[in-house]
Amino acid sequence: MTDPLLSIRGLRKSFGEIEVLKDVDLDVGRGEVVTVIGPSGSGKTTLLRCVNFLESYDAGSIRIDGEEVGFSAPGQRRNERTLARMRAETGMVFQSFNLFPHLTAAENIMLGLRKVRRKSRDEARAIAETWLDRVGLAHKADSLPAELSGGQQQRVGIARAVAMEPKVLLLDEITSALDPELVGEVLEVVRALAAEGMTMLMVTHEIAFARDASSRIVFMADGRIAAEGEPRELLANADDYPRLAAFLARFRASYF
């Protein structure tokens, strides 16, 4: 792949004695949608959190547009202000939404635009309204998160992340906390973003969605990438990879 937007090399990360990432290499090209699947505890969420440095890492490198994320030199953590500026280049959508409960839907989106992107109040409001409209929530601009359903909250969460115009969007099991009937409306938004060429790295358990919406699927097990490939191809040849086959066996019913 030429000129990957996101380039991860030799990434290692331990929590105490437990090594959760063991030498992970992964490239995500511009406009690519890469989905990470794998059993819980395989390190996929940790991998995602390292990309915007919510977690530090012990060794290896993560570059976005050629720029190292968390460290200015090996072992030399970037200062708070630089880290914050770099985090703004990646958008993150969380499993439990994490909207700011004291701010309305529009204000949730405006906060980063105002304080980080230095937009005027009117400009930020206009951008927020555009994105709320895009996720089908124009009429909820002045609602507090507590007044929204889970699916609506998560759509605001996506709008908040993409309004910042990040280079990469990180999606961490964004439908796992939703009632089944609300999953569709959220995935629809992600599908539309993917179609527009938004670069995404996501962790999900929605195998069918991963198959249809991603350009590549990466299967992680025990802190390593155990298999990766074009979605349909990989899923069709899953039997070549025993661990992937075992993992997928649990989902057969839902994606065939």
Partner: protein, 216 residues
Amino acid sequence: MLEQIVYAIPFLFGGLWVTLVVSALTVGISLVAGVLLGCALIYGALPLRLLVRLFSDTIRGIPILVLLFFVYYGFPAIGIDFDAFWAAVTALTLFKTAQVIEYLRGAVQSIPRGQTEAGMAIGLTFAERLRYVIFPQALRRFLPPWINGVTDAVKGSALVSLLGVTDLMHSINQVIGRTYEALPLYILGAFIYFVINYSLSALSRRLERRFSFMQA
């Protein structure tokens, strides 16, 4: 009895003023110091955290009266000399600061970790996260115990009369010393303290309603 009360009132204004000033200084200084030290306790480096923890636990473990005498009689021995008024303010402020530290810690730590992470993810710096994400939410939990604490400070300020500071309590005792009419004056004193604290409680209920923007 009314007659004695009416007689006493003019003599109490000076004391009332001192009570209000002592309370205001205590509450004001402890708020600033408590919030700063509270942040140090939550976010500071380990040695700083241990220091603040030690300070808070020690102060809260000492009866306020002991603290008062300790500051007044003990501090001059280590070269810090002040008059009764400032000794009283210092002791009450130390006590109150330790409380504010704990209110702040409780309020801030009740905010889920995900809020900090969401703030990080959109690129807010540490200071911006505190200001726009954490503190506005923590305020709602901080306010009720803190305002309760303000009424405690007003009541606690009566202790400064024991150092000879002429506050409301001390002026009442002075008038009693002249008239030998204890009951009416203590009733009057109780009433004045009650009026101050009842107003503060009413204010606190209004503030709590105003900041109850979230459920649960």
